[in-house]
């Protein structure tokens, strides 16, 4: 243990910030994830996480991630966790350089808790999203070396009473997404699947089913995304944020859901089919409502 950990140095009393990462930059900058940049491409050194999906529903938001991390053509880990609770009401999922991403999530979670303890009240959902953007921005030198981290942030907004999804780019730009979004190598396929599956009137379970279906489609077409591992019983992690806070779907519940998905695909390997024309036309709907 270094002597600096032994007591409360004057900096602990002097610093005037409620942000843990700013405090860290002041007293122990070497602990920040972004404080070690070189110049060459080092992306081959670290495993990469792949696909994260989130979708809002009536009364909350769900987020799911596959369990694979890859290093080039190798599967580095088959049961990695890529979706985490950020605090009591928000979730963060990570795609990109796994080591840095996990450390960034750890820092982000301390950042939110630190603010809440010092100020006696949690940050707003937008405030949390902006803090995460700042952490990603600090990582830009690493991103330029091939170690980009692209989180997906989602949470229950207590002020407006709705589930929200926020995506980022490597420079820390943040973008509000409506209804659903996906990041990572399989995201194109997952988003395509969700386009056909998503309905705004989903309940929590339907939203969870839709996101695991979309992860199946991502794994179907992207070699870096892991599908359901039926022999080892390794399935996506699915979390939910709603008015009661953050919760994780039981492993048993997800296992049952996955069996349902796989059984359906035994009949139709490409998954549920969407109608060729859109939802009932305005005339049909009017016909149902009006006598």
């Amino acid at each position: 243990m270094s002597s600096r950990d032994a007591g409360l140095s004057p900096a602990f009393l002097r610093a005037s910030t409620s942000s843990f990462s700013e405090f860290l930059a002041e007293v122990r900058p070497e602990l920040l994830p972004a404080a070690r940049a070189g110049s060459e491409d080092v992306s081959h050194l670290a495993p990469h996480g792949t696909t994260i999906v989130a979708a809002t529903f009536d009364g909350g938001v769900v987020m799911a991630g596959d369990r694979r991390a890859t290093m080039g053509n190798m599967i580095a880990q088959r049961d990695i966790q890529k979706v985490y609770p950020a605090d009591e009401f928000s979730l963060v999922g990570i795609a990109g350089a796994a080591g840095i991403a996990v450390e960034m999530v750890r820092l982000f979670r301390v950042e939110l808790e630190h603010y809440e303890k010092i100020e006696g009240a949690p940050l707003s959902l937008d405030g949390k999203a902006n803090r995460l953007a700042a952490l990603i921005r600090q990582n830009l030198p690493m991103a330029m070396q091939g170690l980009a981290v692209l989180p997906l942030f989602a949470g229950w907004d207590q002020a407006t009473g709705q589930g929200r999804i926020i995506s980022y780019d490597a420079t820390g730009g943040r973008y509000e997404e409506t209804s659903f979004h996906s990041v990572g190598s399989g995201s194109v396929f997952a988003r395509g699947a969700l386009k056909k599956l998503y309905r705004p009137d989903f309940d929590a379970r339907q939203a969870a089913l839709a996101v695991v279906q979309s992860l199946y489609d991502a794994a179907d077409d992207d070699s870096a995304t892991g599908g359901p591992d039926l022999t080892r019983r390794i399935f996506p992690i699915v979390m939910i944020a709603d008015a009661h806070g953050v919760d994780q779907f039981d492993e048993a519940e997800i296992a049952a859901m996955m069996d349902e998905v796989v059984n359906g695909r035994m009949v139709r390997p490409d998954g549920p089919e969407a109608p060729l024309t859109g939802p009932p036309s305005a005339d049909d709907v009017a016909g149902e409502v009006l006598p």
Partner: protein, 233 residues
């Protein structure tokens, strides 16, 4: 300006008297163990300026005295705990280490000639995994530190409150019993003309071993507190 020689003994005594007087003006705080954890009860009419606070997963903080000074200590403690937890691991954050750091800091401030001593008394409580591992550390303005077996009382009337609580304390108090015992203690010390204490004039929080979340600290909201106080009547 003429400098006058003051014997070190006299200097320390003056400083201690100064700090004690400041602390005696404030309202008291009780920290006591109950069946499922550790309970903090503070006489505090403010809803916004807290005397009791969360430091870490299993560590709570309570203070009496000058608000800006103990608020400074509270924030330094949160920084200390979060920094340790981030650079090592969450389980490596201990109440003992925090209490030691506070003792060092308060001792240095007390004996440094230039500054005035802090007019505060603080308690650091840590919830163990087993009740027998629970710890309550009490620290005074000069950096003295002691650990209390059952309960700690801070503030001006600490002695009379302690006497009132010790008379009825036992290890298996439930939460309602612990809160009411602390309240009786605080009332015993109050002047006769003081208003009676109720849910609006108390700040109560617990480190609750039965909580499933890793963060065991929980504030008791006024509604629940009123129910707890009514339970024994």
């Amino acid at each position: 300006m003429s400098m006058m020689y003051v014997a070190p003994e006299q200097q320390m005594k003056d400083r201690a008297d100064f700090a004690r007087k400041g602390i005696a003006r404030g309202r008291s705080v009780v920290v006591l163990r109950y069946a499922d954890g550790i309970c903090f009860v503070a006489e505090n009419r403010s809803q916004a300026l807290h005397k009791v606070s969360e430091i870490y997963d299993r560590i709570g903080f309570a203070a009496v005295g000058r608000y800006n000074e103990f608020e400074n200590l509270r924030i330094a403690g949160i920084r200390h705990a979060d920094l340790r937890g981030y650079s090592y691991d969450r389980v490596d954050v201990t109440g003992r280490s925090l209490a030691n750091s506070y003792a060092q800091l308060l001792g240095t401030i007390f004996s440094a000639g230039a500054e005035k001593p802090y007019e505060v008394e603080i308690a650091v409580a840590e919830l163990g995994t087993q009740p027998s591992q629970d710890q309550i550390y009490r620290l005074t303005y000069d950096g003295s530190i002691g650990d209390e077996e059952q309960f700690a009382v801070m503030g001006g009337q600490a002695e009379s409150i302690s006497a009132a609580i010790a008379a009825d304390y036992h290890d298996n108090l439930d939460l309602a019993g612990a809160v009411r015992l602390a309240l009786r203690g605080l009332e015993a010390a109050n002047r006769k003309d003081a208003a009676e204490l109720d849910a609006d004039s108390l700040e109560v929080a617990v480190l609750d071993r039965t909580r499933v979340q890793p963060r065991k600290f929980r504030r008791i909201p006024p509604g629940e507190l009123a129910d707890l106080l009514a339970a024994g009547e």
